[in-house]
């Protein structure tokens, strides 16, 4: 009986994380189109409105994600000739599953976490590294040259940047002395200056750029490179299968943004902590700060996409291997010394 209750509660927790996450993904796509549209002096989607609900009448295009998902759901799924049917269908699932599973250890506020495990950071690294299989298998199972090339590019890129990203996180775990994400956030208590973005600034910068590369987003989106290989690994996908890839990509963006917030920007901690403003904002729930910070990072992903031209493939590899990895290694040594010397105010 106890086991059943435990299972039931866990299931509820999972639903409580997944449903808002999927809603966030849906509206993130709208935000992307609207924001990039604004930056490029366009309007963006504005036809699908909620005219029946009076308050939403002026939010033009607000129904777009719903219309999109309905369209994708009813589209025909075409499986190419000689494609490996099982793997072709399985690949999108394989890319979405780790992107969702990683959320199990993300703390939204103190104690607000599905599974508060000790090796949380390792678990995150393991899950993000598994995500690459969806892409490789999709590219291979499609039996198409463009798809295969896209998959190869993407896999090599993800594996390369994972090293730099992993090293950046090693710096964080050294600083916090823990692999548990809640402990990492609590170790940053104090003020904005206590957050790890300051002492670990090079690692923060590298983590941020690597996370853009990890998610195959512009300016590192050679895996899709529409001018060269049409759409990369998912060129053969249509309908709901394509939608699942789309979901996975955006879920991953939100995930890496959340991680950046937890590791370097104090998670759910208030930015006014330790200042005279602190009592003024005491009524704000912690999760608000967390979501606000995550939104800033998500916005920056869109901003990057609207701003930068695409990197060339060899430049991406050079940046990952010859610039980021050496810098992270050097900074890990620096952090090690700082931790040993108990450098205030971060490492006391």
């Amino acid at each position: 009986m106890e086991t059943l209750i435990y299972l039931g509660i866990t299931l509820l927790k999972i639903v409580a994380v997944i449903i808002p996450l999927l809603a966030a993904v849906a509206y993130f796509t709208l935000a992307e189109r609207k924001i990039i549209g604004f930056m490029q002096i366009r309007i963006g989607p504005h036809r699908v409105n909620f005219d029946i609900i009076p308050g939403l009448r002026h939010l033009r295009g607000f129904g777009q994600p719903i219309a999109d998902s309905i369209k994708l759901m009813f589209k025909e799924i075409i499986i190419p000739t000689n494609a490996n049917r099982f793997l072709f269908v399985f690949a999108p699932v394989l890319s979405l599953a780790p992107a969702l599973a990683a959320w199990a250890v993300i703390p939204f506020a103190e104690g607000w976490v599905v599974a508060d495990i000790n090796a949380g950071l390792l678990y995150i690294l393991a899950m993000t590294s598994v995500g690459v299989y969806g892409i490789i298998i999709a590219g291979w199972a499609s039996n198409s040259k463009y798809a295969f090339l896209g998959a190869m590019r993407s896999a090599a890129q993800i594996v390369s940047y994972e090293i730099a990203m992993g090293f950046a996180l090693v710096g964080v775990l050294m600083a916090a002395g823990s692999l548990n994400l809640s402990d990492i956030v609590l170790a940053q208590q104090g003020s904005v200056l206590h957050w790890y973005w300051l002492p670990l600034f090079p690692l923060f910068a590298i983590y941020y750029i690597s996370s853009v590369a990890e998610t195959n987003r512009a300016p590192f989106d050679v895996a899709e490179g529409e001018s060269e290989i049409v759409a990369g690994f998912h060129v053969e996908y249509s309908g709901m299968l394509f939608a699942v890839f789309f979901l996975a990509e955006y879920a991953n963006i939100i995930l890496v943004s959340a991680l950046a917030v937890l590791m370097f920007c104090g998670g759910w901690l208030s930015p006014f902590e330790g200042t005279f403003l602190q009592p003024l904002f005491a009524w704000v729930p912690n999760i608000f700060w967390f979501l606000a910070k995550v939104s800033v990072f998500m916005f920056s992903f869109l901003w990057l996409r609207a701003t930068f031209p695409r990197y060339r493939y060899d430049q991406i590899m050079r940046l990952g291997w010859k610039v980021f990895i050496p810098i992270t290694i050097v900074w890990i040594v620096v952090v090690g010394i700082a931790v040993l010397a108990k450098l205030p105010p971060w490492f006391v």
């Binding site: 390792l122 298998i137 291979w140 430049q315």
Partner: protein, 195 residues
């Protein structure tokens, strides 16, 4: 409950491992190997060896097998030729496996199993414990292993990096450092006459 879970994962593990050697398509074989890694990681988790379990996924599934799949997918492996000799070597294989099994049985008789179970109930997370062991008692072998990995890296680079002069390749570090003055030269000259 734990027992049921163990048998569930163990069965998947055995099934996947068998498929690795019997399946016809090498890509499928690699994918079954990944499944086998996952199931063994799950079994380790049941033993509270969380660090090892996650490291297995991180290193083997996340990195090693990706590169493996890379190579297998790039090579056009002839499936028929790969199957040749399977039955021919089967008796030898069975014999060797039987011998190994016999030896393991011989050896395992001397293991004191109660001792092993007792140590898994420790309060300290095993990531910490492993770290302590590696950097104190096993520091010396740990450092030697590091030297071995360094040698492997040197060897791999020496054997594959071949800077042939006839090769034409881009040097991004020079490309990104290019200034306008390197490429464009403004020349002052008199206009030439038409003839």
């Amino acid at each position: 409950m734990i027992k049921i879970l163990f048998y569930f994962f163990a069965l998947i593990l055995i099934f996947a491992a068998t498929r690795v050697v019997t399946v016809r398509n090498p890509v499928h074989a690699a994918l079954f190997l990944i499944l086998a890694f996952f199931s063994s990681a799950a079994v380790w988790l049941l033993l509270h060896a969380e660090f090892l379990a996650i490291a297995l996924i991180l290193v083997y599934v996340g990195a090693v097998m990706v590169l493996f799949l890379f190579v297998i997918m790039m090579l056009d492996v002839n499936l028929v030729r790969l199957r040749e000799g399977f039955t021919r070597y089967l008796p030898v294989g069975i014999l060797v496996s039987a011998l190994i099994l016999l030896q393991m049985v011989l050896v395992l008789r001397y293991w004191n199993t109660t001792e092993v179970i007792a140590t898994t109930m420790v309060e300290i997370p095993n990531t910490t414990l492993l770290g302590m062991a590696l950097y104190t008692t096993y520091l010396y072998p740990f450092e030697i292993a590091a030297a071995i990995l360094l040698v492997a890296m040197i060897a791999a680079i020496t054997l594959t990096m071949r800077a042939r002069r006839s090769n034409k390749y881009q040097k991004p570090e020079q490309q990104v450092n290019v200034r306008r003055a390197d490429r464009v030269r403004l020349v002052k000259m008199l206009p030439e006459s038409r003839d």
